[in-house]
Subunit: 461 residues, 2 copies
C-alpha cells in the first residue's frame, strides 16, 4: 500500500516548521505586548455550535465527524433515518454529533458565552490554531490551515481599534513586510445605501462593491443593475467608488456625498478619530471606501491588509461587530478583532527572501564517531556543549569519515568535531567549520569557551 496525504493537507518539514514558527512567534510577541492573552479551544465542537453560523455554503464545507458505536444494533433504525437527512444535505446528530472547527471566531464566541460570568471584561484574547474547511483545494487554499486572530470583546471604545491598527503596523514592521493598512467603516456603507434609497439594499451594495478588485467598475455596475438598482442610484455609487486623494481629501468628499445620512457621518467621525490618533505613529493607514469585507456581522470599522510590493490577495483583515455571543444566548457583548493570513504571509516572505538569517538553527555540531570508547570519552564534553545551548549530534556508528562528512553536509550541519583517543589523552578537540574550511585544535576542558568559539565563528561568517 502506497501511502498518501488527504487532498488539501500538508506535512511541514523542519525547514517549514521553523519558518512558520518565526511568523507565529513574532505575531504572538506583539499580541502579548498589547496585553492579549492566549486561548486554545478543541479541534472538535458540538455540531450545533457550528452549523448555521456560516451560511448554507459554509455548512456544506464543515467537516463532520461520524459518531462512534454506530454498530450498536439498538441504534440501527435511527441511524438509517439519519442517513436520509444526510442524503438530503441536512445533518443529523444520530450520525454526527461533532464537527471540526471552521474558524476561530465561533469557538471564541462559544467560549465567551460559556464563561462570561467569570471573565474580566474587556476580554482580550489571541488564538493561533488550525481550522478545517472542505473547500476545493487549489494553489494557496488548503483544507487544513492556521488562523491567527486577536479580539477585544466587551468594549465599544475606539481605543481598541487604535491598538489593533498599531498591532498590525508593528507586526508587519517586525516581519519586514511593507503593507498598506486599508480602513473603512460599515456605517459609511450603510449611509451609502441610505442615500441610494434604502438600507434594505445594503447587502446588495456591499456584495457588489466587494467584487470591485476582481471584476472592475463596469461589471460592478452591471451587477448593481441586475440587483435592481436604478441608474441614479448607481451613479451615486460610482461617485462613491471614485473618491480619491489623500485621506483628508477623501474625508471631505465623502462628507459632501453622504451629508444627509447621520449613519454615514457617525462612521466618518469614527474614521477621523482613528486617523487623527494614529497620525505619525503608523506607517501606512489608508482610507479605502471600496473596502467592504464579505462578512455580514461587521457593523463599524473594517480593516484589510495588502502587501505593498507583492501581488497577492489581502494578508489580513478584521473589523468591529456589535454582538459576538447573541447566537449563544448572551447579549450585548460587542467587540473588534483582526486576523493574520499566515499562509499568504509565508508566501510573501518566501518571495521577498525575508526568512534569511532569522530562523533558529538546526544541529550546529556533529561529533564524529571514531569508536565506542572515543565516544564515551567525548561524551562529557558533548553534554557540556548541549548544556551551553549548542545543538549537538553524535554520529550513530563508527564508519569511514567520508560517510560522516556526507551526513553533516546533507543535513547542513556547519561544524564537525573530532575527538580521537589522542585528543582524549591530551584533553583536546578538533573542530572544523565545513563551509569555510576553518579548523582548530582546542583545549577540550572549557566547554563554554568552545561554545563561544562556535558562536563567534558563526557570526564572523
Amino acid at each position: 500500500m502506497k501511502p498518501s496525504l488527504p487532498q488539501g493537507t500538508r506535512d511541514f518539514s523542519h525547514e517549514v516548521v521553523r519558518k512558520r514558527q518565526y511568523i507565529f512567534d513574532t505575531i504572538r510577541q506583539i499580541f502579548e505586548r498589547y496585553g492579549f492573552q492566549p486561548l486554545e479551544t478543541p479541534a472538535m465542537e458540538n455540531i450545533d455550535t457550528l452549523m448555521g453560523k456560516y451560511g448554507q455554503e459554509g455548512d456544506k464545507l464543515i467537516f463532520k465527524i461520524l459518531n462512534n458505536g454506530l454498530d450498536n444494533p439498538n441504534k440501527e433504525e435511527k441511524t438509517r433515518q439519519a442517513l436520509e437527512d444526510v442524503l438530503e444535505g441536512k445533518w443529523n446528530k444520530q450520525l454526527t454529533e461533532r464537527a471540526l472547527r471552521y474558524d476561530l471566531t465561533i469557538p471564541f464566541a462559544r467560549y465567551v458565552a460559556m464563561n462570561h460570568g467569570s471573565l474580566t471584561f474587556p476580554f482580550k484574547r489571541y488564538q493561533i490554531q488550525p481550522v478545517w474547511r472542505a473547500d476545493r483545494p487549489q494553489r494557496g487554499r488548503y483544507r487544513e490551515f492556521y488562523q491567527c486572530d486577536c479580539d477585544v470583546v466587551g468594549s465599544s471604545s475606539l481605543l481598541n481599534e487604535v491598538e489593533l491598527i498599531h498591532i498590525y503596523d508593528q507586526a508587519f514592521q517586525q516581519l519586514q513586510i511593507g503593507v498598506s493598512i486599508k480602513i473603512n467603516n460599515r456605517k459609511i456603507l450603510a449611509g451609502l445605501a441610505e442615500v441610494c434609497g434604502g438600507l434594505e439594499q445594503l447587502t446588495d451594495i456591499t456584495v457588489a462593491i466587494d467584487k470591485l478588485d476582481k471584476i472592475g467598475l463596469e461589471k460592478v455596475k452591471e451587477e448593481l443593475t441586475t440587483r435592481g438598482l436604478s441608474a441614479t442610484q448607481i451613479q451615486t455609487i460610482e461617485q462613491y467608488l471614485q473618491i480619491e486623494g489623500s485621506n483628508e481629501d477623501k474625508l471631505l468628499q465623502i462628507e459632501k456625498l453622504l451629508s444627509t445620512s447621520t449613519q454615514a457621518l457617525k462612521g466618518i467621525a469614527e474614521l477621523r478619530y482613528l486617523l487623527d490618533f494614529t497620525k505619525g505613529s503608523v506607517q501606512s493607514l489608508e482610507l479605502d471606501f471600496t473596502l467592504a469585507r464579505g462578512l455580514n456581522y461587521y457593523t463599524g470599522t473594517i480593516f484589510e491588509i495588502k502587501a505593498s510590493t507583492v501581488k497577492m490577495g489581502s494578508i489580513g483583515g478584521g473589523g468591529r461587530y456589535d454582538d459576538l455571543t447573541g447566537l449563544f444566548g448572551v447579549k450585548d457583548i460587542p467587540g473588534v478583532g483582526i486576523s493574520f493570513g499566515i499562509d499568504r504571509i509565508y508566501d510573501v516572505m518566501e518571495e521577498l527572501n525575508l526568512f534569511e538569517g532569522k530562523l533558529s538553527p538546526g544541529t550546529e555540531v556533529l561529533f564524529f564517531n571514531l569508536g565506542d570508547s572515543e565516544i564515551k570519552g567525548a561524551y562529557p564534553l558533548i553534554q557540556g556543549l548541549r548544556q551551553a545551548g549548542i545543538r549537538t549530534e553524535v554520529y550513530h556508528e563508527s564508519v569511514k569519515f567520508d560517510k560522516q562528512f556526507k551526513y553533516a553536509e546533507k543535513k547542513g550541519i556547519p561544524y564537525v568535531a573530532i575527538v580521537g583517543s589522542e585528543e582524549i589523552n591530551e584533553k583536546k578537540i578538533t573542530i572544523k567549520h565545513l563551509p569555510s574550511g576553518w579548523q582548530e585544535r582546542m583545549d577540550s576542558q572549557d566547554t563554554l569557551l568552545i561554545a563561544e568559539a562556535l558562536h563567534t565563528q558563526r557570526q564572523g561568517k
Copy 2:
C-alpha cells in the same frame, strides 16, 4: 441555545496555556539540543493510513470524518450500501475517506515511507501535536490530547538509546520532577518465553506481566494459568519477577536464570552496555524486568518513566522497534523512540507546585485612562514601553479609578501607570505597584529606564 463542549475535550485558558507552553518549550529545547528536528503532520489522514494499525479496539476508537457532498444524488445508492458496512462495525470510504490521527507514530511512519528517498538517515524528528481517541472520558483521560514524541529511525545503534536516556534525564531535571527511568529489553522477555517453553507464549507472558502493577503477583499467576502455562513455567516467571537488588545484582541473577537463551543474553548485553555508558551521568536509571509495555511492535530496549514522589501512572515511555514503515511498503527502517505524557506531567507539576515563578507573565502595566487627550499624550510612552518588551495595556475608557483598579486586580496586573495632563506637561509618569503599594513619580522621557525600574521592582519582590 446553551453552548457546551464535546465530552472529553477542553478549553485552555491563558493560565493553562502558559503552563502547558512551559512544558512544551522545555522539552522542545532539549530535543533540539540533541539534534532532533521538528515535524508537523495534518490532523486528518486518509482512513487507509490509520485503520488496522491499532488492533480492533483501536479501529473503533478512531474518529472518522464524514465525506462531504453526500447529498449528490448520483452517490445515493453507494452511500446507502456504505451505511450497511458501518452498521456492521466496518468502515467504507464511500461514507468516510478521512480520519483524525490516533497517535503520532503512524503519521510519522507514513511520512517516512512517503519521503524516504529524500530524507537523510538516521532521521531524527520530534513532534508535539494533538491526537484524538473516542475513548470513554474519565479523570485524566481525554478525547483530544497532546502527544510529544521523538524518534530516530534508520539506525540500530545503541548510541541512540544512550541519547534518549539522557534526553529523559535532562528534561525531567529541567522540569524539576524527580523520576525513575525504568528500562528493560524485549529480547529478555522473549528469552523468558523461550526458557518457559516457547516463543509462541511471548504475548501471553507479556500481557500478563504488564498487569503486575495493577493486579499483583497472585492474580498474574492466575492469569498465566488461565492462559495455559504450567506450574513449572509459572515458577520460572515468578523467579523472574522477583529478581531484586542493585542493577548489577539484577543482571547477575537474570544471566543465571535465562542462561540458556541466546536471545536473552543478547538483551542482557544491550542493557549492560546502556548501564555502563550512562553510569554517573544520569540520575536514576533502573533495571526493571517486570516492565513489559503493552505494544507489540517493540523488539529491543523498552523505557518507562515513573515520578518518584507523586502517585501516578507512567509519565513517559518508549522503545526500540525493528520495522517502522513495513506497513507502508518500505522495509528495513528500524528505530527507537520515546514519548512524554504531557497531561500527567502537567498534573505532577501542579501537585508539586512546580510552575511557580517559571511562567511568562501576562500584562505587566495598565495605563489608566484619564481621558482621550491624556491617552493620546501618553501613547508614545506606552509604545516605548512595549518596544522595550513590557506588556502594556491601556484601559479602554475614561471611568472612575475604582473601576480601573478593579480591572488591574482581577487580571493580576502588578503595575498601574498614571499619566494625567499635569504629568504630560511635566514629562512625568506615576507608577504604582499594586501588591506592595510602592509608588513613584518618574521622568517619562527615558522609557528604557522605566522598563528597568519595573523589572527591578518585580525581581525585588
